[in-house]
């Protein structure tokens, strides 16, 4: 794996010192020989990848390749059929619910649609994890929440309800919520989809800034090649259930593989078919395929 070969060269913020212990290695998450299927449809087969500590790792791939599914497997929202997912040296399949929840407190996740709790204000959404997991006073919670909202530029929207927010604002609030517990690992599921150029620029800069200043490790699932190239230290390109290529965005650009070139340059023709498997077009239009 190209990405793993470069481990140790990444930036490390002061915040990450608290994570350091002799047991820890630069491999934060390892996916080993992963096999996962939905019914008869195979999603992953013998997938191997490593997420490095302190880096921004991008997981890219054409639509329908299972990028979000991979995130759900990494966070054990789904359980693999075969293979292992190791987080900080622990196989997450072996954790009981309490241990899993303890582990998840180290994660922050930004969902594709924000997934804000619709019956709570923006402030209460961000305060939610603090109220659930800490015994901080209301005054302190207010300070923390306003700090996080300020970081995403939405301190002024604290009293608004989720239904009053635009898509970009909702995602920024979700980002504030994802980082309110100071997680070690931030996971972004398609953070750039449907954003206007301004919101997208803001999110891209936020991702980079937070990762560096807070010493986080980030995983971004996306198929926005240009934005990923701006922020990712390492990218994995997934296709047909396996890692088709990996490396820094520059390295991927230089790859000669047809699949990588097709994906990176957005070409219609290539190993990834634009059309889903279907009967002959002409035959179907003429009704000859009907029995």
């Amino acid at each position: 794996m190209l990405c793993y070969a470069r481990l140790g060269a990444h930036r490390r913020g002061p915040h990450s010192l608290r994570l350091w212990s002799p047991k820890l290695t630069d491999k934060l998450i390892e996916v080993r020989n992963l096999y996962f299927a939905r019914g008869a449809r195979r999603i992953f087969e013998n997938l191997n990848l490593t997420i490095a500590r302190g880096e921004i790792t991008a997981i890219m791939g054409p639509s329908g390749t299972g990028k979000t599914t991979l995130l759900q497997l990494i966070t054990r929202q789904l359980v693999p059929d075969r293979g292992q997912i190791i987080v900080d040296g622990v196989n997450i399949a072996t954790l009981n619910q309490k241990q899993l929840y303890t582990l998840r407190q180290r994660f922050g996740m930004l969902f594709q649609n924000g997934a804000l709790l619709t019956d709570m204000s923006v402030f209460e959404n961000v305060a939610f994890p603090l109220r659930e997991h800490t015994r901080l006073t209301n005054r302190l919670i207010r300070h923390v929440v306003l700090t996080k909202l300020h970081a995403v530029g939405l301190r002024g929207a604290a009293d608004m309800m989720p239904r009053e927010l635009s898509g970009g604002m909702a995602r920024r609030v979700a980002l504030a919520r994802a980082m309110v517990m100071d997680p070690e690992i931030l996971i972004y599921d398609e953070p750039f989809v449907g954003l206007d150029p301004i919101s997208m620029g803001v999110i891209v800069r936020l991702v980079r800034r937070m990762n560096d200043s807070l010493g986080l490790s980030s995983i971004i699932v996306s198929h926005d090649v240009r934005e990923i190239s701006e922020v990712a230290d390492c990218s994995y390109l997934i296709s047909d259930g396996k890692v088709a290529a990996s490396g820094s965005p520059e390295e991927l650009e230089k790859q000669s593989s047809e699949l990588v070139r097709q994906f990176m340059h957005g070409m219609a023709d290539g190993p990834v078919a634009f059309h889903y498997e279907a009967p002959d077009y002409e035959e179907q239009l003429l009704g000859r395929d009907e029995k």
């Binding site: 929202q77 998840r104 996740m109 594709q112 997934a115 994890p129 659930e132 997991h133 517990m181």
Partner: protein
């Protein structure tokens, strides 16, 4: 055909078993929820109970009125119109009060619970809670379930009392039954056991209606169509379950 029957039967048994396990999970979290999330439970009592009170009162008033009319028109033939109060009270306290309240509860509060939880699932809110290390069953489902269970006997009580008032208005005020006879006969004939039967039924129906609603919502297919189907199933399954249980409880108590 036998194969279809087999598939349907095993599917039903699997769902029934899973629902029972889900119920045990709710019971497991109930003591902690009552202690740590009491405010959420109260809020859900408000949502399921207080917000249903108008519809319950309106229906109770008219059902009581209809019972008064029917009782009067039949008992009059035997010169027994003074016993209208007994008929209305028995019907409301033992059968009609708990059953109709449960059906109304399924239509008003049950559908709200199912669609609310289903939509939370469809919009990843439950998954987001999981990722924030908050158990959605504990945080979202149990308070709603308890809110329904607590609300049902109260709503049944309201329905029955307003129904008696409806019966009084029709029988006494409109049809001229003696007011003293109406209430006196009722007081003398209706035992605490009869009232208890209604209370037991309302509690059981509350558990069933709330369980079906939260189960359907929690297991809804996370799409608009899936949530719609879950909402419909909530009403249908609750109605069937309530009527079957009503028969069973009545048979046991009698």
């Amino acid at each position: 055909m036998l194969r279809d029957l087999y598939i349907t039967l095993t599917g039903f048994l699997r769902t029934f078993g899973a629902m029972n396990l889900f119920f045990l999970q709710l019971l497991r979290y109930t003591p902690v929820t009552l202690v740590k999330r009491f405010r959420l439970v109260i809020w859900q009592v408000h949502n399921a109970g207080a917000l249903s009170i108008v519809i319950i009162m309106v229906c109770g008033l008219f059902v009581g009125g209809v019972l008064g009319l029917q009782a009067y028109s039949n008992l009059e033939r035997f010169n027994a119109e003074d016993t209208v109060g007994i008929f209305v009270a028995f019907a409301l306290a033992k059968e009609i009060g708990p059953v109709i309240t449960a059906l109304l509860f399924a239509g008003r509060a049950g559908t709200t619970l199912a669609s609310e939880i289903g939509l939370m699932k469809a919009t990843d809110q439950l998954a987001a809670m999981e990722m924030m290390a908050v158990n959605p069953v504990h945080r979202v489902v149990v308070p709603r379930f308890l809110g329904g269970v607590i609300s049902m006997p109260i709503l049944t009580g309201v329905f029955t009392m307003v129904g008696l008032l409806g019966g009084h208005l029709v029988a006494v005020e409109m049809l001229g039954v003696d007011v003293g006879a109406f209430w006196q006969q009722m007081q003398q004939t209706l035992d605490l056991e009869d009232v208890n039967e209604g209370i037991i039924k309302s509690f059981v129906f509350g558990v069933v209606a709330s369980l079906v609603a939260v189960w359907e919502g929690y297991n809804a297919i996370p799409t608009a169509e899936g949530v719609g189907r879950a909402t419909t199933r909530t009403v249908v399954v609750t109605a069937i379950a309530v009527l079957i249980l009503d028969f069973m409880i009545t048979a046991i108590v009698l």
